[in-house]
């Protein structure tokens, strides 16, 4: 449409607006069309009016804040990870001690079983069985220690990385 038709329709559509604001809006677009006449073909006066009225409607209720919105959440220190890491470290130490104790006990029991063999076979068998049991417990606690160490290391490493889980 021609810019004159456009501006006439825009003026009508802005009837609800304050006269000064309406004049300012019309002036802006009249000027705009001087430099870019094709815009009068691509734009819709009713749509511009709706957008303009909406922006005035929002503004008249509350002043717009000048401060920019936060664009990202505040960085938090991942306390959860740190505490988890410490707990797993304690667990690792505990299980590690148990493993150490078990392997020693197992070794001692094997030796004792060997010696008792000359005194009493059934007793030796019992002690030998205990030695195997201790060996098994050593294996379990060693596995647990390794897992705890891995887990703790992971958590501590990820503390460095950034946001809390």
């Amino acid at each position: 449409m021609t810019k004159y038709v456009f501006l006439a329709r825009l003026e009508e559509a802005l009837a609800a607006l304050d006269p000064d604001e309406r004049r300012a809006t019309l002036q802006y677009y009249e000027e705009y069309f001087e430099d870019n006449a094709e815009a009068a073909d691509t734009l819709s006066p009713e749509q511009i009016a709706a957008e303009t009225l909406a922006s005035y409607g929002i503004d008249s209720d509350a002043p717009q804040k000048a401060e920019p919105q936060a664009v990202s959440p505040p960085r938090k220190f991942p306390v959860g990870r740190l505490v988890g890491g410490i707990l797993l470290s304690f667990l690792a130490v505990t299980l590690g001690s148990v493993a150490l104790g078990m392997i020693c006990a197992s070794a001692i029991l094997f030796v004792v079983a060997f010696f008792i063999l000359q005194l009493s076979v059934p007793l030796a068998v019992t002690v030998f069985g205990s030695a195997i049991l201790a060996l098994g417990l050593f294996g379990l606690s060693l596995g647990g220690t390794v897992k705890s160490v891995k887990g703790a290391t992971n958590l501590f490493k990820n503390c460095e990385g950034g946001e809390a889980a």
Binding site: E31, Y32, L43, P68, V71
Partner: protein
């Protein structure tokens, strides 16, 4: 443009362009169009709001027998631009951080 540009980011761009020099509605729209896809009517509400918040002023200059309204950044507008720039740098760093798989290159 894949990422939508609206609100604060538009304010930021307008202030940045006007910080370089005063200009009028059509040229301002063209400059912003170089960077992002906007319609011919996008900037008017932005300019009006920035004026209302005291970040811009206007003055008229006659041109070939008619009027041209120029927009000019104020001191308050410059301060806001500095705030925006700082936030933008931080935002960029956060995005890059995620793109690099959460590993910091200190």
């Amino acid at each position: 443009m894949i990422f939508s540009v609206s609100g604060s980011l538009l304010d930021f761009l307008v202030l940045a362009v006007l910080n370089q020099e005063d200009t009028y509605g059509y040229i301002l729209t063209q400059r912003v169009k170089n960077v992002i896809e906007i319609s011919d009517s996008t900037l008017y509400p932005v300019l009006r709001r920035l004026m209302k918040d005291g970040l811009l002023t206007t003055y008229d200059q006659p041109f070939q027998g008619r009027n041209r309204r120029y927009y000019s950044i104020t001191e308050t507008g410059r301060k806001q631009l500095a705030l925006f720039t700082e936030e933008w740098e931080h935002h960029k760093a956060q995005i890059d951080f995620i793109l690099e798989g959460g590993i910091r290159h200190d």
